[in-house]
């Protein structure tokens, strides 16, 4: 018997296509002696699909045609644990389920997949799932929450000013003044909770701040403003584990921010444009022009980044694999945590391979961590086995296991 792993990908986010690639990469990597991956694709209209055809990346070019050939499903809790993928619509006769899964393995980036929403769905389905839980996913996605948690534990993050849309509308002048006093210009304006670079822009003075902020409010109702560092190095580090034990990957220096190695890169060995996931490496090798692995930084700095990466992972309460992105202010030689990706593109496998952990091992360890979290939870009490309503008017009756608690 193999463990059936439901790999969830696609989703409702600007990173939909990236997620499809990451998802298929993960499926391809899974140890087929131990696991039987079940592809589960979430279309942009929030419908779930499963079927062999979803494994073929070429098929996505004709998405309508592909969706005709695969089965629309609803995940429902199974009687003895795990989840059934029930046909949608439910047939009146014959088998209702197309597949069963024992573990969920989400590979959705951005909103509804990486921000705790999907994780909450898994919680209610009562199925073990890989990666961070609801709280850490949500905290990792919200830049403001993340920075507050890290700052509280003395992990260096940039100072910021944040506000809601209605605050900006009502107290624009005072907020502008606060930004000028606390941060100075130029500043960078970001939506608080979007996973990608959408809506991010730079303001160099008061006038452009107004334009940039107004534009950013099209994408989110909560914004965060940070000082723009002029001379920086961007370093990424992946962490694998849980709050109890975690390890760090090789470090990469990012020359041009890219989220992912494209499917074309990995499987066709050629740099190719695929929408957002433009090719980042050429000729199938790991050498590429946009990222340097390992990052060319000295040992001391590297050690500090690894330590801060682990701290960030633990403080937010993450599990599975995350990628933490750092900025190094070269002028002051100061390291800042910039953001965390609780479901990083390609699951950061390219950072683990040079660290001696292949993609197969990575997915295996992620699944085992999901099961470990499930075991730890079994020890906790979630509901008290007493019906408070039933206690009313109980005139002292009850047996040995009755109302005695």
């Amino acid at each position: 018997m193999k463990t059936k792993v439901g790999v969830f990908f696609g989703g409702i986010s600007v990173e939909h296509e990236v997620s499809v690639i990451s998802g298929l990469q993960a499926i391809d990597a899974m140890d087929d002696r131990r696991y039987e991956p079940v592809p589960i694709y979430m279309a942009k209209d929030r419908t779930w699909y499963t079927g062999e055809k979803l494994l073929d990346i070429e098929a996505y070019k004709d998405l309508d045609g592909l969706l005709q050939e695969v089965q629309s499903v609803t995940p429902v809790p199974a009687e003895n644990g795990g989840v059934h993928l029930q046909k949608n619509p439910v047939p009146k006769f014959g088998k209702r389920e197309v597949a069963h899964i024992d573990v969920a393995f989400p590979v959705l980036h951005g909103t509804f997949g990486e921000d705790g929403v999907l994780q909450g769905f898994f919680e209610l389905l009562n199925i073990p799932y890989a990666g961070s839980d609801v709280t850490s996913s949500a905290a990792g996605m919200d830049k403001i929450m993340m920075k507050q948690m890290l700052r509280d534990q003395k992990v260096p993050v940039l100072p910021d000013v944040w506000f809601y849309q209605h605050q900006w509308a009502g107290q624009q002048a005072s907020l502008q003044k606060k930004i000028e006093d606390k941060l100075g210009y130029p500043v960078i304006v970001k939506p608080a909770n979007l996973g990608s670079s959408v809506g991010i822009d730079i303001a160099r003075d008061a006038a452009s701040l107004e334009t940039v902020v107004d534009e950013a409010f099209a994408f989110a109702s909560k914004l965060v403003v940070e000082p723009l560092l002029s001379d920086i190095t961007e370093i990424n580090c992946s962490v694998l584990g849980d709050t109890e034990e975690a390890e760090t990957s090789e470090l990469e220096e990012v020359l041009k921010t890219e989220d992912i190695l494209s499917y074309a890169d990995k499987y066709q060995g050629s740099a190719g444009g695929k929408g957002e996931s433009t090719g980042t490496k050429g000729g199938g090798g790991m050498e590429n022009t946009d990222r340097v692995i390992p990052a060319p930084i000295d040992e001391e700095l590297s050690a500090e980044i690894r330590r801060l990466a682990k701290d960030t992972f633990r403080i937010l309460g993450c599990s599975g694999v995350s990628r933490i992105d750092f900025m190094i202010d070269k002028s002051e030689n100061q390291v800042y945590v910039n953001e965390i990706n609780t479901i990083p593109g390609s699951l950061s496998f390219y950072l683990w391979e040079p660290a001696g952990k292949d993609f197969t091992t990575l997915t295996h360890e992620m699944i085992q961590l999901a099961l470990k979290r499930e075991r730890n939870r079994e020890q906790l009490t979630f509901s008290i086995d007493t019906n408070l309503f039933a206690l009313q008017g109980n005139n002292g009756k009850g047996g040995k296991q009755g109302s005695k608690r």
Partner: protein, 533 residues
Amino acid sequence: MSNLLILLLIAAWAWYTIIRVKKSVHMLQLNAYRSERYFRWMKEHPEKAMYPRDVWPALGIVFLLPFWGLTDAWGFSLAVLWAIATYALLIWRRPKTVEKKKLVYTPRVKRLLVTTGALYVLTLAIAWLIGVNALVGFLLLLVAANVLVFFIVMIANVIILPVESQVNQRFFNDAESIVESMPDLEVIGITGSFGKTSTKHILKAVLAAEYNVLMTPESYNTKMGVTRTIREQLKPYHELFIAEMGAKQENDIAEICELVHQKYGVLTAIGEQHLETFKTLENIKKTKFEIVETLPEDGTAFLNKDDENIRAYPQTNNCRTMYYGIDADDLHYRAAEITYSAKGTTFKVRKYDGTSVTIETKLLGRHNIYNILAAVAIGSEKNIPLEKIARAIKGVPPIPHRLELKQSSATLTIIDDSFNSNPTGSKMALEVLGSMPEKKVLVTPGMIELGEKEYELNKTLAHHAAQVCDFVILVGKKQTEPLQDGLAEAEYPQSRYYVAADLQDALQKMREVTAPEPSVVLLENDLPDTFNE
């Protein structure tokens, strides 16, 4: 007309019969489909198995007597109408009891109902053949079928027995192939006369620190129980499976072992249980040791060496054997430096390789030290670091009302042993109390339902209490007389015990005596369940 009446009668009878059959099948299910247990239940509760009122419908026959001067047709109609009316009444006035455990419509129950139904259709067919004209015979047969419903269900049960054993065999085969399809799965078997369930729970907590573990739930410790657990709960990702194995007769353990192919076998203790089926202690030993004798060459046995019955057994399987204990010589895992306090038990486990670890637990009593030792030994052999094992054990909660530690206030600790009501358990609870450094108080209503020995056993309990306790509170004036006598015999000073009228009085007194200094109160045996503090 008459045919319509007959059909109505059959319908009314069928309705009532269904109610009666359901009841009997339910009882059969509660008696584990065992005809002999079901029969014993019938003998013990004849009023529930057979209703005298079931004969009412047959009383309609009196209308056929010539004495009324009725024509045959009239007499016949009246008799049938009477029967229909009484069936309606029987249905309407049927005893509606609240069932603690409802009838579960398992496939077996469905097969049983079909068989019973077939028997009834047969009865009906015979009734019909006897003929409507012979209404007397017809009615009597229907009524008999109601009165004897419990026996009919029993006959159905016997009829389908071969089918059921085939079905079970299929389940066993299915479970066996599931286990075989998981080559990396290792099975740990636990058996013994006592301590199985506690050991299982502690072991699960220990192994879960590093492995995906499944254990048989509750007390599913028969071959069928283990089979069900495998078929319903074993997941492909499980690495270890803990199977509790119970034995009522010889070969019971070997049968389960054959199913699961255990790699590790734990034997907690051997005592004189189920002697009526085992006949001799030798048979018990042999049966319990089946778990060791069926281990593969690369398997490991874990044995409690402090148990003299285990020590005395001539084990023939020379697989790796680990001994744990407190007192015996040459132990692989030994508990030492045992101390009890209001926080629980603390002791050191010394492993054969020279390493050791301090175990802290909320569990009390010497028996639990053995249970923990078994779990430590297996966990350590599965390469879990001793510190991690200790951490897992610290989190194991006590079983409610069985030597359960409750911190009532900063200075008052309560040992709730209210589930217990047997002499051995009470003695052990007093030993635990005696080992506490704080002020020791016993609150008990004494033991009941011990038959003719009750007086003597309660007196003995009082003697033990007199040696251990700083203060004794007896709940109930009349029922604690044997304890009062016992305390007097032991020359326990009157100033140090109190006979409370009821629980409220006892609690009042308890607060009074425990107020001045740190105290431990042992609540022994079932007190009224308002005890929440």
